[in-house]
Point group: C2
DNA sequence: AATTATAATTAGTTTTAATTAACAAAGTGA
DNA sequence: TCACTTTGTTAATTAAAACTAATTATAATT
């Protein structure tokens, strides 16, 4: 699908909003991505072109099936990275979120899967973390 | 100093070239960062403004003291990330390099230090890696 | 229903980082 | 030393992603 990083961010934001409620508005996106409304409108028009979202003028935004699939992939990566940052690197939630956003686009599925495994094992066996970080 | 990601990349490239030989030329940078020469010339003019490099027209590029310091910081991050990708995530050298380039700008010193420690411990105690990645 | 407030859009601009084409300087070999 | 190759520079464009200001549509309130 080859979306730019910023378009991936917009799609991910919509996905996050829609987890809680059925539809999404531009103001919802603005609360997540801190940019001006025209920037969002512009991004949405591209996502619409790519058939990842549905939106009629001045109205709600929803994800197409394709859009859901793409967004979910992106968000899964995000979560895996965030979890590792929290559980291994002792990031607080907010910083973990920020950094995950910044780097998530660059990781392949395989690497993300390894991160998930690592997080699980660290949670299961707390000694592992101690040994890893021992100086 | 607040350099953009791309300017950091240029500075880092110069640093890498200068590890092997006393000066750097635009063609050397081009071998590392795959862009056109005018792009490099333009980046250099900004780095010059910021007093991070010295360059007289049609001639060599060297790093100022400040430039060396900045570049070395960036490159240290790069190395730490690359090493972890190789030793824990089983990346080959080239892929590790590519990914490190993409994400290095986003990591703080502290996190990078943790990565270094992790890499050392994994090298010392191979069992650690097995336990971390066990499914 | 009219007014006001909120939300979305359009138009035009800026910044960053890249490009190609054309040109200029430096280096090299006969 | 002159021609040729390599290297570096300039100028003019392009594209992505942001912005502000002004406008329009929708929703809410009295």
């Amino acid at each position: 699908m080859q979306l730019s990083e910023s378009l991936q961010d917009y799609l991910e934001a919509i996905f996050i909003v829609i987890q809680d409620k059925p539809v999404c508005r531009i103001t919802d996106i603005q609360k997540i991505i801190n940019v001006s409304k025209p920037s969002i409108v512009n991004a949405l028009s591209i996502l619409k072109e790519k058939k990842l979202i549905n939106q009629q003028k001045y109205s709600y935004i929803t994800l197409t099936d394709n859009g859901k699939k793409e967004a979910s992939n992106i968000y899964c990566k995000h979560l895996a990275i965030k979890e590792l940052l929290i559980n291994l690197f002792d990031f607080d939630k907010k910083s973990a979120n920020t950094l995950a956003c910044e780097i998530e686009h660059h990781f392949c599925k395989k690497t993300v899967q390894i991160m998930k495994t690592m997080t699980e094992n660290i949670k299961k066996h707390p000694n592992l973390k101690k040994k890893l970080l021992k100086k």
